[in-house]
């Protein structure tokens, strides 16, 4: 029982690795389907911009609210801009954007590809001489890796605005003090961390979504199962990767 579960886990990981590797290799040999990549970038980027902006805004606002009471405990109320800015930039901006986009797009990818698999459209594509990995997976992977950092920036920016709104309205901190505080403390390592994370998260969520989509079996029910697995796995993996990257960055830039 345990043995078979373990075997199937190892088997999934192995399959996932081989398959992702193939998708990445496809980028470096023609043909690369740029049109599909653009279409995907539009669905992922433009499609998610609104919800990412909204979540970013309220996230920033909550951070400002919480930081007020939290920092007061340490006698450090003056550091609010810094707290909001840094937390958004290196931690919550990337993670929440990643998880929200995973909920929206990893699931879309899994259900799209999944229903193509169960209706044999993917097989049909292969029989017409088009590599489904090259045509379907690689564009999604690339598009997500390009757009997610941009979406994260949107979330960060709206988060700053949200935090600023609270700090002005509720905490009476002048906005220029808040902004200089938020800006001044962010060093290059923080910016790098804040931009590396979304690239990695994008890789995780796109490859996960496509992977679960492509190995769908069992009709319409199978498609919804893959969809949910894709969301869950990519969210947990994003949190795990976030931990690893934070650890490495602290090591590199103490």
């Amino acid at each position: 029982m345990i043995e078979s579960t373990l075997k199937s886990v190892v088997w999934s990981v192995q399959e996932y690795t081989i398959y992702t590797w193939r998708a990445v290799l496809c980028l470096f040999s023609p043909p690369v389907y740029w049109t599909d990549t653009l279409v995907q970038a539009d669905t992922i980027g433009a499609g998610s911009a609104l919800i990412v902006a909204l979540t970013g805004f309220f996230l920033g606002a909550v951070l400002a609210l919480e930081s007020d009471s939290l920092l007061a405990g340490f006698g450090a109320t003056g550091y609010m801009g810094r707290f909001v800015g840094m937390t958004l930039l290196i931690e919550l901006g990337p993670v929440l954007t990643g998880i929200i986009v995973a909920g929206r797009n990893a699931s879309t990818m899994a259900s799209e590809l999944g229903s193509m698999v169960v209706t044999e459209q993917v097989d049909a594509m292969s029989s017409l001489g088009v590599d489904p990995v090259r045509k379907l997976v690689t564009p999604r992977l690339v598009a997500t890796m390009v757009t997610l950092p941009l979406l994260t920036l949107v979330a960060d920016a709206f988060g700053l605005v949200g935090g600023g709104w609270i700090s002005i309205v509720r905490l009476n901190i002048p906005w220029h003090k808040y902004l200089t505080d938020a800006y001044a403390t962010a060093g290059w390592p923080d910016v790098i961390e804040g931009l590396i994370k979304p690239v990695v998260f994008a890789f995780i969520l796109a490859s996960d979504g496509c992977f679960y989509g492509m190995r769908t079996t069992g009709g319409a029910e199978g498609v919804s199962r893959s969809t949910i697995q894709a969301v869950v796995t990519s969210s947990v993996l994003i949190l795990f990767a976030d931990f690893l990257i934070s650890r490495i960055m602290i090591q590199l830039f103490p």
């Binding site: 259900s111 029910e221 969210s235 947990v236």
Partner: protein, 308 residues
Amino acid sequence: MGLAAEIPIPAQCAQATLHRPQMARCAILILFRDFEAGSSSRQDPANPMPSNTIDRTAKDIVFTVQEYSLFAWRALVNLFTPPRYWPDFLVQADIVGVGSAAIVLLSGFFTGGVLALQSSATLAQFGATAVTGRFVSITMIRELGPVLTGIMVAGRNASSMASELGSMVVTEQIDAMRALGVDPMRKLVTPRIASTIIMLMFLTIVADACGIFGGAAVTVFMNGQDATQYFSEAYEFLHYPDIIQGMVKPLFSGYIIASIGCFYGMRTTGGTEGVGRSTIQAVVTASVLIIFVDFLLTQILLTLFPPL
């Protein structure tokens, strides 16, 4: 849902010689017809009408919100009148609670770990690494525990509710249930809402605990600090307002997750593709709403229980 039947507007309505009651009825019919036509245009891809004008989108949103409010209200009221379906409640509680325990546990652990890592790096600049425990436990319990658990469970369960109910709608199983004399609202929706509200609170507690242990693991094994100090900091500086905030939030998030998941499931149209669409809409809407309501609740609770 399927109730959006358009009313045939009688030719008489075009005449100027109507009595007052007739006129009123005509006006209501025409208004209602236009309203419904506008609100349903998005659900019907084959509809040749030009859609997405601003007023139509606005109507659309208002109508959806109105429909959702009625839906969520009915589901809640059903809790207080028989018949109640307890076995279904237990099954759902098992699916939501036990089924999500593993991912909530994992995500809680890593979140706590990251919190400890980042905060101790920042706190080191002030020479205050000793307060890591306090920082982790307060942040976890007040904010990240409820929000992250909510979003994780939304990704897993709002989506599965929407896809389950959605495929029941498109295969006429919901109609069959109504035809057999069973109210799908009571049988399917209310147990899901009640069980999610209760289980999400427990899941949040699990996430909080795992987060604090994750933070402890990092603090002790990676940063080489003292475990006793970490835990006493984590425990001592927790006050009732923190706990209240941490326990009230999941109640609302649970309600959002289940009602949004069921709502989008029950209004699914358009076959298997429609089910996929509902699933994704449910996850997205639930996640955004959770963060929005988290903000509102933080605001309200901070006013009610000012920080000590």
